[in-house]
Amino acid sequence: MEVNIINLITIFILAVFVGNEIINKVPPTLHTPLMSGSNAISGIAIVGALLAITMDGTLGTYLGLAALICATINVVGGFLVTDRMLKMFKKKR
């Protein structure tokens, strides 16, 4: 696998800047949902887990399965609980 590390670093740095810009605009009221929502997004490791399962070797596969379970809890639980919280935010009638 020929990995262009500089390209990856470029993407990483630019994404940090984008993250900085958009997250600074989230008001304190929504910081908890932001955290649980971004938690769900960090469940993107699910992609890594799916790829890990296809790797060679029995032990590797089971480690991939463990990763998949952890990441799925993160994704499913994270988005659901965030929605549950956001549903409660109501404006004054």
């Binding site: 908890t32 971004s38 956001l86």
Partner: protein
């Protein structure tokens, strides 16, 4: 376009879903759709992976996704809003664990990725995992919430960190077998996660949760480097940035530097010198008297603290506020950044009690409002309203931004007893001329107050 291009394009779409999703989180009105959009982004990323044409073991994937989904739904539906910090701690830990497992799987199956990147990914993931579970234990009360310290603690953490770097150098010089290095790093990272979290006191937990949130993102990004996958890098760094920003906000809310939170071990032993404590003239009032003061008031600001949520009194607090509003009074809520146990926690707890979000005001917004406020009603908050933070250089909380409740005409403080707050500091506000105390459990007191107000 070949298969890889299509896949990368799909990953790009998913990244856009995350970015626009978070962007929509900037207003309560659009937030729910933003969260939905982000979850669609995740779905696209999963589909992109599964359609890559790799040789997938579908049974195993079904098993993993099935178990994970059931557990995820159970946690999400059952968790109480007061337990949100614990839940986020667990999720942070799982995210870290997932990254560490992927790194291990890659290593064991002889992936041709860079060894150093695998080790880094393993290190960050494992550290996030063990740190998060200590944080969870502290929040849940399995482990003492106090800062646990011993001599040489920081030296030990530094030593562990140094060893990891030494191991990586040893790898470069081919001094040790790769296996030995890899497994040693796992153990060391586990220890470092524990070592860095255990000395942090309960009051500083919001900072730690935020920081671990950031780590879980960085761990995902590291996995992206490992697998040469843009989706992981972009989403991971978004989460990393988010956690870091929240960490910074929490630190500012307590007027502490991050280094001070991590290495300061505040709250280890509350050795407060009581000898030079000034005599305070405390005026204890009944709920009837408090109700009469509220009856005469026109503008009331409620200052909720975490104690209110623990007593599950936020619902009756909202009823009191509604009743006062119905009598034509103006009622607002003042939310300090560290009012809850994690960033924005108090807002969620009040939203759960049906308090409209537009009545919740943050520090900068509300402080000018106290000047012409008739009554500030303090419910379970303490350190965040202590005026000593403004002027008393010897106070441990000096410099911390506080809610200027003392500027109100009258300050009504509900407390169980005269016990000092988290920071272990006695609050001089209680002795002020315009302060009155109403002792008792928040829920009982508010229920009585509600009755009295309605009868007046």
């Amino acid at each position: 376009m070949n298969q890889t291009d299509i896949q990368n394009l799909l990953y790009l779409i998913s990244a856009i879903g995350f970015i626009v999703g978070i962007k929509r989180l900037s207003h309560p009105r659009t937030a729910r759709s933003g969260n939905f959009l982000a979850s669609l982004g995740m779905l696209v990323a999963i589909i992109a992976t599964l359609t890559s044409g790799a040789d997938f073991d579908w049974k195993l994937i079904g098993l993993g996704v099935g178990i994970g989904s059931i557990l995820g739904v159970m946690i999400a539906v059952r968790v109480q809003m007061t337990q949100m910090p614990q839940m986020v701690a667990i999720f942070n830990g799982l995210g870290g664990a997932a990254s560490a497992f992927v790194a291990s799987a890659a290593y064991i199956s002889g992936s041709d990725s860079s060894y150093i990147i695998m080790c880094m990914s393993l290190f960050i993931g494992t550290l996030t995992f063990s740190g998060s579970f200590i944080a969870f234990g502290k929040l849940q009360g399995f482990i003492s919430g106090r800062a646990i310290t011993f001599t040489g603690q920081q030296a030990m953490n530094a030593l562990i960190f140094g060893s990891i770097i030494a191991l990586l150098i040893a790898h470069n010089l081919s001094l040790l077998p790769n296996d030995t290095i890899f497994y040693t790093i796992t153990v060391l990272a586990l220890m470092l996660g524990i070592g860095l979290t255990i000395p942090i006191g309960g009051a500083d937990m919001p900072v730690v949760i935020s920081l671990l949130n950031s780590y879980s993102g960085i761990a995902a990004a590291a996995t992206g480097f490992l697998l040469d996958n843009n989706a992981l890098i972009i989403s991971g760094s978004l989460v990393g940035a988010s956690g870091l920003i929240l960490t910074n906000i929490m630190c500012k809310g307590m007027n502490r530097s991050l280094a001070n939170v991590i290495f300061g071990a505040v709250g280890a032993v509350s050795s407060i010198d009581n000898s030079d404590q000034k005599e305070m003239n405390i005026k204890s009032y009944s709920t009837t008297e408090a109700a009469m003061i509220l009856d005469a008031a026109e503008k009331i600001i409620i200052v909720p603290g975490y104690g209110l949520a623990v007593a599950q009194a936020q619902h009756v607090a909202r009823e009191v506020a509604d009743t006062l509003e119905a009598q034509g009074k103006k009622v607002l809520y003042a939310i300090h950044p560290v009012a809850g146990r994690m960033p924005g926690h108090m807002n969620v707890l009040l939203a759960e009690a049906n308090v409209p979000y537009d009545l919740l005001k943050d520090l900068d917004e509300i402080n000018p409002e106290f000047e012409d406020c008739d009554v500030a009603l303090i419910l379970g908050a303490n350190d965040v309203v202590n005026p000593a933070a403004r002027h008393d250089k010897s106070s441990p909380i000096y410099g911390m931004p506080i809610l200027n409740v003392d500027k109100s005409r009258t300050v009504i403080i509900n407390k169980r007893s005269m016990n000092p707050g988290f920071a272990g500091v006695q609050n001089e506000l209680f002795g002020y001329d315009n302060s009155i105390m109403v002792f008792g459990d928040a829920k009982d007191m508010l229920n009585d107050l509600l009755k009295e107000i309605k009868e007046l």
